[in-house]
C-alpha cells in the first residue's frame, strides 16, 4: 500500500507539494502569531521583573515603564531630588536608586545610576567590577565594549542629532552577565557623573536651580535643537577620579525616575499608594504591562482571527481539491476494488494519502512558524535587548493535536466517498 501511495504521490508531486506548502504556510502563520505574542508577553514581563516599583514625576505610566524598564528614549518630567532622600530614609525601602537617562554612546543608552541598583538587578559580572569613580562605567552584556574601553557620551542619540560631550570619557571597568533585559544594551555610569556633566548637583558652582525645566531636560531625553545651545552653557565639570558618592541628600538634583526595592509586598503596595498622589507617580511595571496587553489584546484577537481564517480557507480549498481529485479518479478506485482490493484498503489509501500530506504540512508549518518567531525574536532582541523566549508550550501541542485530529476527520470525507463508490459504476464512467 505504501509503495502504491508513494508511486501515486510521485506522479502528482507538484500538486502534493503545493498542498503541503499551503497547509504549512497557513499553520506557520498561526504558530508564529501565537509564539510571538506569548514570547513578547513573557519577555517583557521578565524584563519588568527586576523592577519592583518605579517612582517618577506625575505623568504617563506607560511612558515611565518604557523609559525605565525598556530604556526607550523619551522625555520624562523631573521630580525634585528630595524624593530620593526621602525614599532612602524610609524604613520600608530596602534600597532606592536614581536613574538618569539622556546620553548615549554608539547607540547604547547611558544610564546614570548607583552600585546598589547594579547589584540589586543583575546577576553579577562576567569581567571587571562595579564603578568606584565618577569617570568609570559598567557595560551590559549586549554592549560590544571590553573592559578598559573608552565611552564618549553623546547628548541624546546620534539619530536625533546629539553632540558629544567633550568634558568626559568614561572608562569601562566592568561587564555584566546577560540578564535578557534591555539593560543588557545599556552603559551604566555613576549618576553623579551624569549630573555633573549636565551642570547639576552639589558640586556645581555656577548653577543650582536644578528644578528648572530646561536644565532638568539635560539629564533626560533629547530636547529640541535650540535647547542644545542652552545646555552648553550649563555644562559643568566632571572629576573623573572623584570617588563615587551615593549618599543622596535633600539637595540632590531633579530626577526622571527612581527605582525602589521595597522590603515586603505589603510595603510595596503602601509605597505605591503614597507616591501616587500629588507631584509623583509610582507604578509596578508588571502591572502597567498587564494593562498594556489588555489594550493590545484586540490586536492579538485580530491576528489570531486572520490566521484562523486562513486556516479555514486552506482547509476548505483542500477539501474541495481532494473531492474533485477523488471524483477524477473514480475509475482507478473502482478498478482497485474490481481487481480484488478490499473497500477498507481503498478507504485507507485515500485517507492516508490526504492525511499524510496535511500532517506533513502541519509539521512543516510548526517548524516554519517556530523559525519565523525565532527570527522575529532575534531581530527584536538585537534592537531592544529584550530576550523573547520563543518556545512551545503545552497548549501548542494541544493545538497541533487538534489540527491533526481535524485533518484526520477531513481526510475521511473523500475517503468515505471513495469507499462508498460502486466499482461497476466507476468503471462505466
Amino acid at each position: 500500500m505504501i509503495s502504491f501511495i508513494l508511486a501515486d504521490l510521485r506522479r502528482l508531486w507538484l500538486g502534493a507539494a503545493v498542498m503541503i506548502l499551503l497547509v504549512a504556510l497557513a499553520t506557520a502563520l498561526g504558530v508564529t502569531v501565537t509564539l510571538q505574542e506569548r514570547a513578547l508577553r513573557l519577555g517583557s514581563a521578565r524584563a519588568a521583573d527586576r523592577f519592583d516599583l518605579v517612582v517618577s514625576a506625575a505623568g504617563s505610566e506607560t511612558q515611565l515603564v518604557l523609559s525605565s524598564v525598556f530604556l526607550q528614549p523619551s522625555p520624562l518630567p523631573l521630580m525634585p531630588g528630595d524624593v530620593l532622600a526621602k525614599l532612602n530614609a524610609d524604613p520600608r525601602v530596602a534600597w532606592a536608586a536614581p536613574v538618569g537617562f539622556g546620553d548615549s554612546f554608539l547607540g547604547h543608552p547611558i544610564v546614570g545610576t548607583t552600585t546598589k541598583l547594579i547589584t540589586g538587578t543583575t546577576t553579577g559580572f562576567s569581567a571587571g567590577a562595579v564603578f568606584a569613580h565618577e569617570g568609570e562605567a559598567v557595560v551590559g552584556a549586549g554592549v560590544d565594549l571590553p573592559v578598559g574601553a573608552e565611552v564618549k557620551p553623546m547628548h541624546g542619540t546620534a539619530e536625533t542629532g546629539g553632540e558629544t560631550h567633550k568634558e568626559i570619557a568614561y572608562r569601562v571597568v566592568g561587564k555584566l552577565k546577560p540578564t535578557g533585559t534591555p539593560w543588557d544594551r545599556a552603559i551604566l555610569v555613576p549618576v553623579q557623573a551624569v549630573w555633573h556633566l549636565h551642570g547639576l548637583g552639589a558640586h556645581d558652582d555656577h548653577d543650582d536651580d536644578h528644578d528648572h525645566a530646561d536644565t532638568a531636560g539635560a539629564a533626560n531625553a533629547p530636547a529640541e535643537p535650540e535647547h542644545h545651545d542652552e545646555h552648553d552653557h550649563h555644562h559643568g565639570h566632571v572629576d573623573a577620579d572623584a570617588p563615587v558618592n551615593e549618599a543622596f541628600t535633600q539637595e540632590a538634583p531633579g530626577l526622571p525616575a527612581i527605582l525602589v526595592k521595597p522590603k515586603t509586598i505589603a510595603d510595596a503596595y503602601r509605597l505605591r499608594q503614597e507616591y501616587r498622589s500629588g507631584s509623583t507617580l509610582a507604578v509596578f511595571p508588571g502591572e502597567v504591562l498587564t494593562k498594556l496587553y489588555a489594550t493590545l489584546g484586540d490586536a492579538k484577537f485580530v491576528l489570531a482571527a486572520v490566521s484562523a481564517g486562513s486556516q479555514v480557507l486552506v482547509a476548505a480549498a483542500l477539501l474541495l481539491v481532494s473531492l474533485i481529485h477523488v471524483g477524477q479518479r473514480r475509475r482507478q478506485i473502482g478498478a482497485l476494488r474490481a481487481f480484488g482490493a478490499p473497500r477498507t484498503a481503498v478507504f485507507s489509501i485515500v485517507w492516508s494519502e490526504l492525511f499524510g500530506l496535511v500532517a506533513l504540512g502541519i509539521g512543516l508549518g510548526f517548524a516554519l512558524g517556530y523559525t519565523g518567531a525565532r527570527f522575529i525574536g532575534t531581530a527584536f532582541t538585537t534592537q531592544t535587548g529584550v530576550i523573547l523566549p520563543v518556545e512551545f508550550a503545552m497548549e501548542d501541542w494541544r493545538m497541533a493535536s487538534a489540527l491533526l485530529l481535524l485533518a484526520a476527520l477531513f481526510a475521511a470525507i473523500p475517503a468515505l466517498l471513495a469507499y462508498r463508490q460502486s466499482p461497476a459504476q466507476a468503471l462505466r464512467a
Binding site: R11, R331, A345, S422
Partner: protein, 229 residues
C-alpha cells in the same frame, strides 16, 4: 472448475422503466468457454458485472458453486470476487508509476494476501504471458503488452472463473489475436470457466458456446456441435 446457475435476474437502473438486464434462466458448466455477443448497449457488460459480483442484481439469484453471490454484502462480493474471479477489461486499468510486477501484485497486496509464493508466481505469470521485463513501468508499454500484464494480474490468485469484457477491442489485429490465444490457452490449461463479452469475431468464433443478447435479454444460445460445454 466452477459452475453457474442464474435464476430470475433483473437489473434495473433508476432512470429506466425496463430493466437493463433480464435473464430468467442461465446455466454455465464448469470449465465452459462462453462468448457473450450483442450490439452496443445490449447488456453484455451488465451481465458480466452481475456474474462477477461487481453489481448486485435488483432481483434473482446468481449461484456459483452453491454460493449465491446476489445475496452477499458489498464487501462479501468483493472478497468472493477477489478469490474466484480474474477480471480482464477493455481498458486494462493498470496503475501508472508502478512496474508490471507491482501491478500484477497490487490487488493482492492491498488485500494483504501477497505471500512470497504469490510474488514468485507473479513473476512466472509475466513470463508466461510473454513479458521479459517485470520491472518495466506500465506507462511505457505498448497496448498489447499492457493487456498481457492485465491478464497476468487476473490469473494471480488462480481464479476458477475468468471474466473478460472486450479484451481485444482496444488492440490492433495482431495483439488482439495474441491476447485471444493467451486467454484460450490459459483457460484450457487451468480448466477454468471463461466468460468473454466481445464484438471480435476472431475471439467469438473460437469459443465453444455463444450467447447473443439484445435489450438486456438472451436471444440465442448456441453450442458448437463437436463439444458439449
Amino acid at each position: 472448475m466452477t459452475s453457474l446457475i442464474v435464476e430470475g435476474v433483473r437489473l434495473s437502473v433508476p432512470d429506466m422503466a425496463v430493466p437493463v438486464l433480464n435473464v430468467d434462466h442461465l446455466m454455465i458448466g464448469s470449465g465452459a468457454h462462453v462468448a457473450i455477443t450483442g450490439g452496443s448497449g445490449s447488456g453484455k457488460s451488465s451481465l458480466l458485472n452481475v456474474l462477477s459480483g461487481l453489481e448486485r442484481p435488483t432481483a434473482g439469484r446468481v449461484v456459483w458453486e452453491a454460493v449465491d453471490i446476489a445475496a452477499l454484502s458489498e464487501s462479501g462480493r468483493d472478497r468472493w470476487r477477489a478469490e474466484h474471479v480474474g477480471l480482464v477489461m477493455q481498458d486494462f486499468h493498470l496503475f501508472p508509476g508502478l512496474s508490471a510486477l507491482e501491478n500484477v501484485l497490487l490487488p493482492a497486496k492491498l488485500a494483504r494476501v501477497a505471500s512470497e509464493a504469490l510474488k514468485q508466481r507473479a513473476g512466472e505469470l509475466l513470463v508466461k504471458v510473454g513479458l521479459s521485463r517485470p520491472d518495466q513501468h506500465v506507462e511505457t508499454m505498448s497496448r498489447g503488452e499492457m493487456q498481457r500484464v492485465a491478464i497476468a494480474r487476473a490469473l494471480l490468485r488462480e481464479p476458477g472463473i475468468i471474466v473478460a469484457d472486450e479484451p481485444t477491442a482496444s488492440l490492433d489485429a495482431e495483439s488482439g489475436e495474441a491476447v485471444a490465444n493467451l486467454l484460450l490457452s490459459i483457460a484450457v490449461e487451468t480448466g477454468c470457466t471463461l466468460l468473454v463479452a466481445s464484438h471480435d469475431p476472431r475471439l467469438v468464433e473460437r469459443m465453444k458456446r455463444r450467447i447473443a443478447m439484445r435489450a438486456g435479454e438472451i436471444v440465442s444460445d448456441t453450442v458448437d456441435a463437436e463439444s458439449s460445454a
